[in-house]
Symmetry: C2
Subunit: 408 residues, 2 copies
């Protein structure tokens, strides 16, 4: 038997079924028309944003990283809740504009921007977080071609990382951003060119659960912003401190201490360099805003045994849940939170592995978990499915195609 | 510096550029209209099939596993070259039928077949490789509902695995197939039901490079087929021996010894049990047929340094080449064969990492490889891109969308 990850608190049960947004799992599947299905709870997203607004200093703006979940109804909901958006491609720019987001609230980061993407962003009035000196040249040239003043910020490769983070984005040689010691020269050139100077983007890592590590990275980022503004000789209009706040996926994971982070961020901002006194700071969060709001529902198609082990075969799998299968940037496979959504009130008295419908041993959603006895037709819920699920999985693999998505 | 994987032999160079199917990389990109681009060489696929037909016993049929590369022109080419096709989903069934493949030559394996997929397969006349007793019941019921005699085979979970294989599909508790000791009872029930009995599918693993391991698995499979046919009390019309033949991806990998495998398979078939004398044996290959025929071309968008390390940032990445990035079922990241397609005749005198355009440190196509000096606008080639590339990668991740594909 292997432990399952912690189910995010706050989900209700109705008639023995998992309920999302007050509605039973089977009713949600009936509305969507089929499984597999991602269900996102608007209420959980609202509460998460509200918790953040309560914990963070009032002066700090909140941005949403579209890459975490670009489902159009989620973007539309976010447009009422957050101050800005971060996109990572021309494709996400198109999604953001289609969802009616205000381009003036959008910034675009990403190390391999094509010239066509840079032009589209400048034409729309989006801020470019420049990843290199070469990209700055291309952005200035594109602005000239278009006759539009580009809005430019620099993404900084900081000389520190976010300790304990799932993804380190700073500290040492990185493809992201510009090494801190080259930023001031580059910033002065941008300002001298007549572009609209928007400031800095400092992203040290993501998916950290330690408040101390996040506090330290935020303090270091604010200090670095002060140093770089001084070196540039000009105040920073904006400073994006990145995100980094993780969510508990695995056994033993605990939620981040949001109150501690908010209080420490307030102190760090109170102590910031004078040159940053008018700077608009923001946090850019993706997974933390939507991850725990999503549940992946998939139907059991077969119940079978092999050499005394029990397998529940579902109609979903790693083609929608690559990370949950343990195959995306993880070395040791651990179980996400998984449950039998149609038997939430029954005792977990058998050990089973939940495997996907793909013809590969990689396709395993729960390894030897303890569950209530489930049969074909029952629904399996994989929690923490709101971020980097539908869009970060190989939906075409083996021809199964994408899952349904529903915001309730 | 880290070594790069071995470039498959036989690619030509024209005017310093990599040539595929006799055409220069830049001309192929011009025809496709943009990068990133998968180019598949029909000539290389034909030669691979021809090598197989030459090495394998004449009596052994050749099947293509559609999952390896379901691009429609590849399926159409294969329909002239191989004897049968294996599909893994209702989606692949639709692709196969759209490509004009003969349903009588198609079999369908996969552990999570939905009832609707089973019905579609029976209606089309496709053979189902049954993965469990429960699936057999559903298939027989579906046949009755449709008034069509289903064509049924059993996928066997063999009591041995393919040693040294990248993916073990047998040996111990597995979600695939039916444990060998339950096959005969199940086969007799299928025959008694009046279904068309098609035989067995025995798949022990995939991506093995050791001829000895493949020979041993094939011998064991043929012996097991004899035992199971005897236990069933009826001859086997068909026996699918699976695939398993790998291709060299990584430094030090060597091609499989096809002649040795073919000779040993001939001996094993000569010595097969009498009850198998009329059995049609086949090999089901995917990666081995198409993997080395494909090249992924992606354009360098940026050349940048960070802390004295050089990065070539390309407009492609793990959203098309998940396995090449080292993030799909691998524990230790190693480099695929990668080259600068537009500078094949220049000396490799600098060390660079080729990183994709995604905003994640996972997106690395070559780690500290030795390359000719390349600039933005140059094309990078990732070899061994013909199988499990375009269809097995998260194309929607970060909104970049799918790559172009071209069969030449």
């Amino acid at each position: 038997m292997k432990p399952l990850g912690p189910i995010p608190p706050g989900f209700a049960m109705i008639d023995g079924q998992l309920a999302i947004g007050g509605r039973k799992a089977r009713d949600l599947v009936a509305e969507a028309g089929r499984t597999p299905l991602f269900v996102y709870s608007a209420d959980r997203i609202r509460r998460r944003v509200s918790d953040l607004l309560h914990a963070l200093p009032q002066s700090v703006a909140l941005h949403y990283a579209v890459k975490a979940n670009p489902f159009e109804p989620v973007l539309q909901l976010m447009s009422e809740l957050v101050d800005g958006f971060d996109i990572a491609s021309g494709g996400e720019l198109a999604l953001a504009l289609a969802a009616g987001l205000d381009p003036a609230r959008i910034s675009f980061a990403g190390p391999g921007k094509r010239t066509a993407e840079i032009e589209a962003a400048i034409a729309a009035g989006v801020t470019l977080n420049l990843e290199s000196e070469g990209e700055a040249v291309r952005a200035l040239e594109a602005g000239q071609r278009l006759g539009i003043t580009p809005r430019l910020a620099i993404r900084v490769n900081p000389p520190f990382d976010l300790k304990g983070s799932g993804m380190k984005m700073g500290g040492g040689a990185k493809p992201f951003g510009v090494d801190a010691d080259r930023v001031a020269v580059m910033a002065r050139a941008i300002i001298a060119s007549g572009a609209e100077w928007r400031g800095l983007h400092i992203f040290a890592g993501s998916q950290a659960l330690s408040a101390d590590a996040i506090i330290e990275a935020q303090r270091s980022s604010i200090a670095l912003a002060g140093v770089l503004a001084e070196e540039t000789g000009q105040a920073l209009p904006h400073c994006n401190l990145g995100g980094g706040l993780g969510i508990p996926y695995f056994p033993g994971d605990l939620p981040v201490d949001l109150a501690a982070i908010g209080a420490a961020l307030g102190e760090a901002l109170d102590q910031r360099a004078d040159i940053l006194s008018e700077t608009q700071f923001c946090l850019e969060l993706g997974r933390y805003l939507v991850g725990e709001a999503g549940v992946y529902l998939t139907e059991i198609v077969d119940r079978k045994s092999s050499h005394d082990e029990l397998f529940l075969v579902v109609d979903g799998g790693l083609h929608h849940q690559l990370a949950a299968s343990g195959n995306f940037g993880t070395v040791v496979r651990r179980n996400y939170p998984v449950a039998i959504a149609t038997r939430m009130d029954e005792p977990a008295d058998e050990v089973a592995s939940v495997v996907g419908c793909l013809c590969t041993p990689l396709d395993r959603l729960a390894d030897k978990g303890q569950f209530p006895r489930a049969e074909p037709g029952d629904l399996v819920a994989v929690f923490c499915a709101g971020a980097y699920g539908a869009s970060a999985s190989p939906a075409q693999f083996l021809g199964h195609g994408p899952a349904q998505e529903l915001l309730v």
